[in-house]
Symmetry: C2
Subunit: 450 residues, 2 copies
């Protein structure tokens, strides 16, 4: 244990909504007020006559980014905070994630103090800030392995209804946090476009397959979890310690080609139907920032068995859930051409998770599989029970058979070239600040070779 449990971490001054920042755009910022302070990797602007700057770690505040390496060199940090900022100074946050909560929280606490209104060192810190309009964001880590869970029970139910009306939820669902290994190489940061994949699938059900651009390109709304300190191969992380292995959270769009997936997935699961792209938001929202928005573990359905002991922890039951609101927005090329604002396709929540993050980590490592700093976990698609809370077009359009109207005259069964999908997420609670994740954004470009 490297600190309080994720599920019962106390609140402190960094969560106080009445403490203001001297950074002008911070207070009231919809995503990044002083109470958030997420980490990320950015590239500063190139200055004339200078070399291209290297990617480096930063902390977001309002519309500014604080350079952590420069902060470490400034003399304003000591001890764990300095060690943490130094570990975050390079082109990936893997080494910083490996340090765990101690260093992360030390940086958070110190940066909170330095950015608080009236802080004495403001002139020094101000010189270490960049305007977000001048920088570019990169993937925050070198992703080791990417695992995608299936913990959105309403998604599992809805997909099951579409393909197995007789038994929508398989017997193992209430017992096993179902997951599969995803593709790490194709994880990309928000803003990079997604090329429509070609693949093999039958033109008509039961027909012979051919190789063609997917006709069923879809998004999936997920929460991503970045792994911090992991475990050695052969060891496991007990559920009570699992929170210590979380470095932070992001938004995750698990792009899917439903026709390719349906044809290939028996008997070994999704492969090329998923591995052509996964988009994550750039900012790593910390467990500390999300501490005020914990909830009890999701309630199970009346007939469901209790989780097995290795997935059961009293603190996790009390505070292992998360209350984060997530939305999906679509902007088509035609909408942009006619200046129609992006339209919301879905409004969902992490409250619809069937398993907690600690349960996912305890399960993942239960057989000794090792997690490493910078590994990525996806929750699975976060659909809610309502028709307005579905996390994929597969669910919304009943596998393309009932296209949804985006704006008058424009419908979508699945995504078309030029469509832009934006995921957003916010956490708020009466009497506390609202914090957000920024955007997870990508535009679909046509298949290779037209």
């Amino acid at each position: 244990m490297t600190g309080p449990r994720w599920s019962s971490e106390p609140l402190d001054a960094t969560h106080d909504p009445h403490i203001a920042s001297w950074v002008e755009t911070a207070d009231g910022h919809p995503d990044f007020p002083l109470q958030n302070l997420p980490f990320g990797v950015f590239v500063p602007p190139k200055r004339a006559g200078h070399r291209q700057p290297l990617p480096r770690g930063g902390i977001r505040i309002g519309d500014r980014v604080l350079d952590l390496g420069a902060l470490a060199r400034s003399g304003l940090l000591m001890g764990d905070a300095k060690a943490g900022a130094q570990a975050a100074a390079g082109g990936t946050l893997n080494a910083f994630f490996a340090l765990g909560r101690g260093a992360r929280n030390a940086v958070r606490q110190r940066v909170h103090t330095l950015l608080t209104e009236g802080a004495g060192d403001r002139p020094l810190v101000q010189r270490l800030l960049y305007d977000v309009r001048d920088i570019t964001m990169e993937l925050p880590v070198a992703v080791g392995d990417y695992t995608d869970f299936y913990a959105g029970v309403h998604h599992a139910l809805r997909v099951g209804e579409l393909f197995r009306p007789d038994r929508p939820l398989l017997p193992n669902y209430p017992w096993v946090p179902i997951a599969y290994h995803g593709r790490a190489s194709s994880v990309r940061v928000s803003g990079e476009s997604v090329r429509r994949p070609r693949g093999q699938f039958p033109a008509t059900p039961g027909g012979e397959p051919r190789f063609a651009p997917t006709g069923k390109l879809d998004f999936e709304l997920e929460l991503g979890i970045w792994v911090g300190p992991g475990n050695e191969l052969g060891d496991r992380i007990p559920i009570g310690d699992a929170g210590s292995s979380v470095a932070g959270f992001c938004l995750l769009n698990d792009w899917s080609a439903r026709d390719i997936q349906a044809w290939e997935y028996q008997p070994l699961g999704p492969f090329l139907g998923k591995s052509f792209a996964t988009t994550v938001s750039a900012w790593v929202v910390t467990p500390e920032a999300l501490a005020p928005y914990r909830t009890p573990a999701p309630s199970r359905r009346a007939d469901d068995p209790p989780p097995l002991p290795y997935l059961t922890d009293a603190d996790d039951q009390t505070g292992g859930g998360l209350d984060i609101e997530l939305e999906v927005l679509l902007s088509t090329a035609q909408m942009r051409a006619t200046r129609v604002a992006p339209q919301r396709l879905s409004l969902s929540s992490t409250r619809y998770l069937y398993w907690t993050v600690a349960q996912m980590i305890a399960h993942h490592t239960s057989g000794g599989c090792n997690l490493r700093p910078g590994d990525l976990l996806g929750t699975g698609t976060l659909s809610g029970p309502a028709a307005t809370a579905r996390g994929s077009l597969l669910e919304m359009s009943s596998n393309g058979t009932r296209p949804v109207e985006v704006v008058t005259g424009q419908t979508r069964g699945f995504l078309e070239d030029g469509d832009e999908i934006v995921l957003r997420a916010r956490a708020g609670r009466p009497g506390l600040a609202t914090i957000g994740f920024g955007e997870c954004r990508a535009t679909v470009v046509p298949a290779e070779g037209g």
Copy 2:
């Protein structure tokens, strides 16, 4: 294209069985004569009063290993050969793999000359050799992503017969090179033990699951393929160019817990039943060394459709197959205690592959998924049609119901603690040298916590 196609590469002096080496243990070595020259990463012995040496790239010859970094510094290399040896001098071969065939073959050709009987520089080169008994081997690369195919058609048929007697081979099998994403973090080099995983599975069919050490621990005999130059996300590697993306081959044991796998795998495929360990052999056998042992692409069953155009290439049909003999040996703790030699469980071959390596790579990248240098592909279990050629205990023992006799009085349905599995492979042809892969060896140790 960075050289001749894998499927039609010409033979040269490095394949000549009549050229001898001055390294005493090389000629007639069952795995590593002068005609092989595989690459790997090793740690030299620590000398008293010196620091622990760092891992580094080497080439195996007989019972010796040539230090490639030291060779690059020796003045004996120039051009591509020097650049290649320098890229292979560090603790992983990823950078060397990225250089592709040109640098790899330049190193191979030059080292062959330097090690040939009568070479003038023998005294200089001799000082760069280590005795394999003094070194330890490491994983040759930092594995980016690990993909496991299902291209052993007799394995797929036999497993299908066990679990779906009515339709042993699914309709997509003759069309799609089926694969799933595996776990990269738990890939380990030959010699490291494998801890029996715990996991969730029902004690009896249809019963409630509990969490316990697997009772169905199994091996899988596979060929591994190391990826060299890869592709950018969104691009693809046409089948005609796919051979250029292969850096080399290894043996691969895809350890499996059949009870965990059976309970968890619907609907998203294997997860914890596979991800607790994957063992690979230490030496990277190059496409150049294997050039003499190419065969026509595997013949398809009479009723099977021809592959789709993106999986079809005339050269690949002519020479894209491989003729490598593979065997599985078992040594139980009791056998070792009573000095009984390891017993052969299986003798199989890469001729039983349904898809060629080029077809696997063309398919993997067909939707734009990017491969990176150091990625690992497994072929899937290489069973043959005969009962003596089955690549897993699942098949041999009919899922544990008919234990096989290993030696008199000792049977195995699945693996027990203390069992050691050794995979070996050889390629030979009349009039040519026989080359091998060395061993892929690991011993099962008891589950964590006893």
